[in-house]
Subunit: 355 residues, 2 copies
């Protein structure tokens, strides 16, 4: 039924198996920096409608693959689909970021939260996964994803993006049991959601912990990492006769990489504030590493982008287990030809680190 | 002429000398969370006018000392006074943050930048320092400060606050020599500025590197730390017969503390994402440490604030060389009585770690 996978470099690198070169993809590769993405989004009418339309979500997922020699596709979606299905009233206001109409701040609010059925309220995501797999025709593997419970929780409690995390930190310090109950229900919802993505065809899964870096080390372990470990423990690790690798990424988590590797995940995303040589030493090659070009390096002229790619490859050094990526999502105002310079440089420069 | 210093705990702790308890102050202690500050600011008419009026700047500098048992005063001012005096056209728009009318982006822009005379265009700052010292009458020492050259440079190049640092990173990766020339002139201006503050009466100086954490490790060393070291090397280290300690603070710099200690500074500010026990191990007690309660912990009820203060004191552990502080500036929406709970807890709980 499913076309055989033609390029499995990404999956092999995540399992630290030999590859002839370093595979790569870009966080937010289906995004606003691409004119074809902006056209499809305009057609959809809004960001949320784009997420909820499997045909259009599939279309934008495939766009960067038609432009660049990338080694993975990532489901076009958003980490807030889960709270959306938990009835908190999500909206994306133009230029304003996400807004949640009914923030979750009390025990009664938490009691009301359902664990959504991934093939019910979230069926549009699973339909997108199925459609993308069909349309990919085995070109490259498809990555499924979710936000970390802590990160999703920050939006649910704050009612949107936040700088100081007033409400959730008030809860963390003042009512930690309630916060644990909230994180528990988000974790159960997220596990069901990720497992349904794998059942629908996702071949690797990534957990995005965008705001774990806002915590103290002790709070990170208690309120973010603990729940990511539950996801690592509970997510389906084999599908279609292959291992499904799990990648954890905490932005600003460079000091906690060894703790993250202890969860039993297969790979860690690393942002650009940590040198990959240091990261590799910290995890002692127990997991693969994914990263970590500064996304703002793509503002530089192409020749300099190539030099920066070389620096990242050199920092990881010889050996397998490196997936090249940006250290965070590509910025919306980066010229597409600058991303091309990065992609081509990885293809040209990485074989010398393998073989 | 000057009243003798009655409380030198802060200065002694910065030099890792014995103290009977842990001294403390709060970053942004003269700030919007205090109603008396808001009243004075309203009287001044704007934030910039408040900075530029020595009498009112003195008034707000002293306000937190009248409310709380703090061990240091910090000059009320802003890190952007230096670029303001370099004629880039600084304005603070209400609720918008700083805006710079003439961003510095070309070699010609850089050529035009003067090194301001601290007793000329910046005399209002030195007058504030002199007035505050007189009005303090030796109660506690006065901290002078400046932004790090990299951090000040981000505002000058971007034209205000930034998320992705598009322009300065474009320069860093695409025209690094120009950026070095810019950082050089900012460094010379900053050194003259800090030395004039010491001459006017500042008894310790702190360099705020708010945006160093946005850099890769290699870029941090080349574009931020290198210039902070020039400041450490060039700043007056003795005044009024006492050592003038220098504190460096890079927000998000937890991975680079050992490199920072190598500059020869006396103390490092540490944000809340690094455990002080780890920080102490990293710097091997070569420098004092200042920090690091999560500023958002002050959203918790007072009893929990006390528990969090205990956790920070315990993480530093026994021995001298700790100045208690928040890990970043106090948030404007924190109730003043929550800050009081923190201050009192440090007084009550810290003596057991000394003596």
């Amino acid at each position: 039924m499913t076309a055989p996978l033609q390029n499995d470099l990404f999956l092999r690198a995540l399992l630290r198996q030999p590859t002839p070169r370093t595979p790569l993809w870009m966080m937010r590769q289906a995004g606003r920096y691409l004119p074809e993405y902006r056209a499809t989004r305009a057609k959809a009418g809004s960001f949320l409608k784009l997420c909820m339309n499997p045909e259009l979500a599939c279309e934008v997922t495939l766009q960067p693959l038609d432009r660049y020699r990338l080694d993975a596709a990532i489901l076009f979606s958003d980490i807030l689909t889960v709270p959306h299905a938990m009835n908190v009233g999500l909206e994306f206001e133009a230029g304003e970021g996400p807004k949640i109409a009914r923030p979750v701040r009390t025990a009664a609010d938490i009691d009301k939260l359902p664990v959504p059925d991934p093939e019910g309220e979230l069926r549009y995501v699973m339909d997108a996964v199925r459609l993308i797999r069909r349309e990919l025709r085995g070109r490259v593997p498809l990555i499924g994803f979710a936000g970390s419970p802590w990160t999703v929780g920050t939006y649910m409690v704050e009612g949107g993006g936040s700088k100081n995390f007033q409400h959730i930190k008030g809860m963390l310090y003042g009512a930690p049991r309630e916060l644990h109950r909230l994180l528990d229900v988000i974790t159960r919802a997220t596990l069901a959601y990720l497992n349904a993505q794998v059942a629908a065809g996702a071949q690797a899964v990534m957990v995005f912990d965008t705001w774990g870096g806002a915590l103290t080390p002790a709070d990170y372990r208690e309120f973010s990492l603990r729940y990511m470990k539950r996801i690592v423990d509970g997510v389906t690790r084999e599908s279609e006769g292959r291992r499904v690798p799990v990648i954890l990424f905490t932005k600003g988590g460079g000091q906690w990489l060894a703790d993250m590797a202890d969860t039993g995940c297969d790979a860690l995303g690393v942002d650009w504030t940590t040198d990959l040589a240091d990261a590799r030493r910290a995890v002692q090659d127990r997991v693969a590493l994914q990263g970590n070009l500064d996304p703002s390096a793509l503002y530089a002229p192409p020749a300099e982008i190539r030099a920066q790619v070389a620096r990242v490859l050199e920092s990881y050094g010889k050996g397998h287990g490196h997936v090249f990526n940006l250290g965070h999502g590509i910025h919306p105002d980066v010229p597409p030809e600058h991303a091309l310079a990065m992609v081509e440089a990885v293809h040209e420069l990485s074989p010398q680190y393998h073989g």
